[in-house]
């Protein structure tokens, strides 16, 4: 080791801060990816024990349009006509809304 070089710690410890930041970045990125639009097509997630007909009924009651079903029975792909759709559908039993991608993507079974 030449003069001026600091003492080295073990490599895993050195990588720890970078790994934490990377994990945080990944989580934020995934969250950003799955953030639903204020209006338009989105996945509406209900409780797992909610039937598909109940979920569709809640979407329609909240003023949205049914676009498609998803791989999960408690997730309905809907189209919100205004910015208040998200709030109204959550008042009718939906847990949250997210982008219609991945597991929440439509299967084309209703088209």
């Amino acid at each position: 080791m030449r003069p001026g070089e600091p003492r080295r710690e073990s490599q895993p410890v050195q990588l720890l801060p970078a790994a934490v930041v990377a994990l945080f970045t990944l989580i934020i990125a995934i969250a950003a990816v799955h953030t639903p639009p204020e209006e338009g097509e989105m996945g509406v997630v209900f409780a797992p024990w909610t039937s598909q007909s109940e979920a569709m009924g809640a979407v329609v009651a909240a003023g949205g349009r049914i676009v498609d079903s998803s791989r999960l029975g408690n997730v309905v792909v809907a189209y919100g006509l205004d910015e208040g759709f998200d709030e109204r559908v959550r008042e009718r039993g939906a847990w949250f809304t997210m982008a219609a991608i991945g597991l929440c993507a439509g299967m084309g079974s209703l088209s």
């Binding site: 030449r2 600091p6 990377a22 970045t25 934020i28 990816v33 799955h34």
Partner: protein, 585 residues
């Protein structure tokens, strides 16, 4: 300052630079968030949170590798934050390429692990985004093929950066090695400088000692260096050894001054052509050898000059004799040239006479040939005349036979006339007329017989004459044949004479050419003699000059005998030598 920086300082600067770049990207993310979405969102939160983590790392552990890796991770997070803020924007995909630029900036850390960390983060982001948000990465839809393509590009860039960093590390090692070598050499140079410094101090001490000697010997030595050996060391030194040294130097200077002065005297006399001076002093060692050599040089030079004087006199005498002989040779050559010219003229006249004889012999030969031809023609005429004579003789013989026949006819006629006269006589009167006729016939026959006899005589005489003429013609033909043979023989002899004359003329022409060549050679010899005369005169002048040169030396030997003056050279005009007295004509 740059030379004093080490690798860790470079890396810290680069990490801070990455942090500054992260700050710029964070500001961009916040600005885009506010501009596009009306307030801070997830992108801004990611940017600010990771930037704060970097600031914390800068404070806490900036001199550790963890700070570099953190800077890389934060830079990638800033790119991701900008990407998030640019969602649903047409240039979002373009912003995605900032990952590759950020990865390239990681190379500034000169740390392969940092590059690998950056590449891994880019790969994770690509994989996650490709799976869950393919539109952000792959415009027009994702797929395994495009993921593989991006992976290949990423791996290629990462490999290139790792390679470059590895090369930089090797170069750095080489530079460190050279630096160590330079430090070692600098150490050696420092030791040398120390040694020189110590030597300089010793020299200064010695200089102080020499200063005292300089004060005593300086003027004397400087005068000796300038060639003046008359100065002496007069100083009184506190050291007895130095006083003995001064006495020795004074003795040395005296010896040198005396030796050089005497040598200079001999050389001065030598320069004044006086070879009688010698070094007479008592010397030892080198000056004894100098004395011996100087005297030897003067002796050798004196002997050489003496021999030169003798040789110069001999040379003048020999040159005069050679010049006299050359003049005689020139005179004889001139006479020979005149004689050859006369001989050439005589031979030319003789050649012309022989040529005239040859031409006359040719004329005589042609005329002899004409005579021979005429004789041949005369022989032919004689032959024809002989033949004509033979024909006349034959005709005369035939005429003689005819005349004999006429004579026989006349005899028979006479007999018949006689018988007729007899019969007429028997017939009487009836036969009287017939008898007259018979008488007349008999008379005519007798006349004819008489005439034929005369003609026969004439013919026989003519035949005799013809035979005589034929013999004469035959004799004339024989003479003509003899004349022809003699004429042909004469023509042959004349031809031989003409041929001999031609050969004589050709030989005379060759003799003329030879004489002319002899004339040219004689003239050339005369020119050579003239040149020889000039060269000998020049040699004689140079010998006289040499004699004058060596006469100026005084050697102490008796003067050489003056050589007999040579006979004056003949003046030459062209190739003819002219005697001096000829000018009086």
């Amino acid at each position: 300052m740059t030379q004093k920086m080490n690798l860790e300082q470079f890396r810290l600067q680069a990490a801070i630079g990455l942090g500054a770049m992260s700050a710029v990207l964070a500001a961009a993310a916040v600005t885009i968030d506010i501009t596009r979405w009306g307030g801070l969102g997830l992108g801004s939160a990611l940017a600010l949170a990771t930037l704060a983590a970097l600031a914390m790392g800068l404070v806490q552990f900036r001199r550790q590798p963890a700070f570099r890796y953190l800077a890389v991770s934060v830079l990638m997070a800033q790119v991701m934050a900008v990407l998030i803020t640019m969602r649903e924007h047409p240039q979002q995909i373009d912003v995605h390429m900032a990952f590759f630029a950020a990865l390239a900036m990681c190379a500034l850390l000169y740390d392969i692990k940092a590059i690998l960390v950056g590449a891994a983060l880019v790969a994770v982001h690509h994989l996650g985004l490709g799976l869950f948000w393919s539109e952000m990465v792959f415009y027009g839809g994702g797929g395994l093929g495009r993921v593989v393509l991006h992976a290949v590009i990423l791996v290629a860039e990462a490999l290139a950066l790792v390679w470059m960093t590895r090369n930089t590390e090797i170069l750095l090692q080489v530079a460190n090695l050279k630096s160590d070598e330079a430090e070692a050499e600098a150490e050696i140079a420092h030791r040398h400088a120390q040694t020189v410094k110590e030597s300089l101090e010793a020299s200064q001490t010695r200089a102080a000692l020499m200063q005292s000697l300089q004060s005593g010997f300086g003027d004397v030595v400087e005068a000796a260096v300038d060639g003046d050996f008359s100065h002496r060391v007069t100083a009184d030194f506190p050291d007895e050894d130095l006083n003995r040294l001064a006495n020795s130097v004074n003795l040395l200077l005296g010896t040198v001054e005396r030796g050089i002065a005497e040598t200079g005297g001999v050389l001065t006399a030598l320069a004044a052509t006086d070879l009688t001076q010698r070094m007479e002093g008592d010397y030892r060692g080198a000056f004894a050898k100098l004395k011996s050599d100087t005297n030897s040089v003067v002796d050798t030079l004196s002997g050489l000059v003496t021999r030169l004087q003798d040789t110069s006199g001999s040379l003048k005498t020999a040159t005069g004799e050679i010049l006299s002989g050359a003049n005689d040779l020139s005179e004889r050559t001139t006479k020979q040239a005149a004689t050859i010219e006369e001989t050439a003229a005589s031979i030319e006249q003789l050649s012309n006479a022989v040529l005239d004889n040859a031409r006359r012999a040719e004329t005589a030969s042609s005329k002899a040939l004409a005579v021979s031809t005429t004789a041949t023609e005369g022989g032919d005429v004689m032959n024809r005349a002989n033949a004509a004579m033979a024909a006349i003789e034959a005709s005369s013989a035939k005429i003689s036979n005819i005349i004999g026949l006429i004579d026989d006819i006349a005899f028979q006629t006479n007999l018949l006339a006689l018988n007729a006269s007899v019969e007429a006589a028997r017939a009487g009167d009836a036969g009287k007329g017939f008898a007259v006729v018979a008488v007349e016939v008999r008379r005519l026959a007798q006349s004819a017989a008489g005439a034929s006899a005369e003609v026969k005589q004439l013919i026989e005489a003519s035949a005799d004459e013809v035979r005589g003429g034929s013999r004469l013609v035959a004799q004339a033909a024989e003479k003509l044949l003899d004349i022809l043979a003699r004429a042909q023989e004469s023509s042959s002899l004349i031809d031989s004479i003409a041929q001999a004359n031609k050969q004589q003329s050709s030989a005379l022409q060759e003799v003329t050419a030879a004489v002319r060549q002899m004339d040219e050679m004689t003239q050339h010899n005369a020119a050579l003699v003239e040149e020889t005369n000039a060269a000998i005169e020049q040699t004689e002048a140079q010998a006289a000059e040499l004699d004058h040169i060596v006469e100026v030396f005084r050697t102490g030997a008796p003067a050489p005998v003056q050589a007999t003056p040579p006979r004056p050279a003949l003046r030459t005009v062209g190739n003819i030598a002219v005697a001096p007295e000829w000018n009086e004509f």
